[in-house]
Amino acid sequence: MASYSLRIPQNLEMLINLRIENEKVDKLTALRQILYLGAENYVLDLYEKGNLSLSKTSEILNKSVYDIIQLVQKRGIKTGATIDEQKISEKIAKNTWKKK
């Protein structure tokens, strides 16, 4: 596990205090939780854009692939092939069954 020291801006400190109050946790726990939430959002953003795969996303966030699928659904994030990949897939599918 790595450790870092950093200066926290005042507005972020307010956020940490809010979390302490609402979640009844200590300062370091609150900070870790906020950091994780930010990381989760960032990783899911990469997943949505096709910069991380489903398996890789699940490994980084230490969740099952089902958890990830459920999480993106909950947030209304759309994933999967775009129309560009679909066009290629359609062509391959046609060639595959015709050559059968």
């Binding site: 096709g50 489903l54 890789k56 996303t57 999967g80 290629i88 359609e90 069954w97």
Partner: protein
């Protein structure tokens, strides 16, 4: 029978579409130990229904689980840093047993496959292919597309409806 390799994304979406059994009867479908671990073992630990369903299909030998030796050409392997163990194992399986295509709807995986011209079919197009092959009735295909609508991009769902002749 046409031989296919499926990743976790493709497998789960086909399970959710309610036609996975039809797919397994129409094609020689293969997954890896890593995909089994992701979709069955870890899924069962979290009590996901699809995990139990997929596990049953493996137990009935409808879905083959294969070992992989991770034989991927080095020029492709070095581009897999954005992929997890599941996708990398399926890529290896493609090279090792010579599947006709990889079934996946994972955009990061598809981008790599596209780059190296490795054939892939997304679940929606597999469903349509089965209608064309007459191994799946059109009505069942339409229902399947509706079931996975929430899990795919709207543009692909709309295209599937057009291809199925649905307004």
């Amino acid at each position: 029978m046409i031989k296919l390799a499926i990743d976790s994304d493709g497998l789960i979406k086909l399970a959710k579409s309610n036609i996975l059994k039809n797919v397994l009867k129409s094609f020689n479908c293969n997954i890896t130990n890593e995909i089994y671990n992701e979709t069955v073992t870890e899924g069962k630990n979290k009590l996901y229904e699809d995990a139990f369903f997929i596990g049953d299909l493996v137990d009935k030998n409808l879905l083959q689980v294969k070992d992989t030796k991770y034989r991927i050409p080095s020029n492709i392997l070095k581009e897999t840093k954005n992929l997890g163990k599941g996708e990398v194992s399926v890529l290896s399986l493609y090279f090792e047993i010579g599947t006709k295509a990889i079934i996946s709807d994972d955009l990061a995986f598809l981008k790599l496959l596209k780059k190296f011209e490795i054939p892939f079919i997304i679940p929606i197009d597999l469903i349509i292919m089965m209608v064309n092959m007459k191994t799946l009735k059109r009505e069942k295909a339409q229902s399947a597309i509706e079931k996975i609508r929430g899990f795919v991009r709207e543009e692909c769902y709309a295209k599937a409806k057009t291809l199925l002749g649905v307004k």
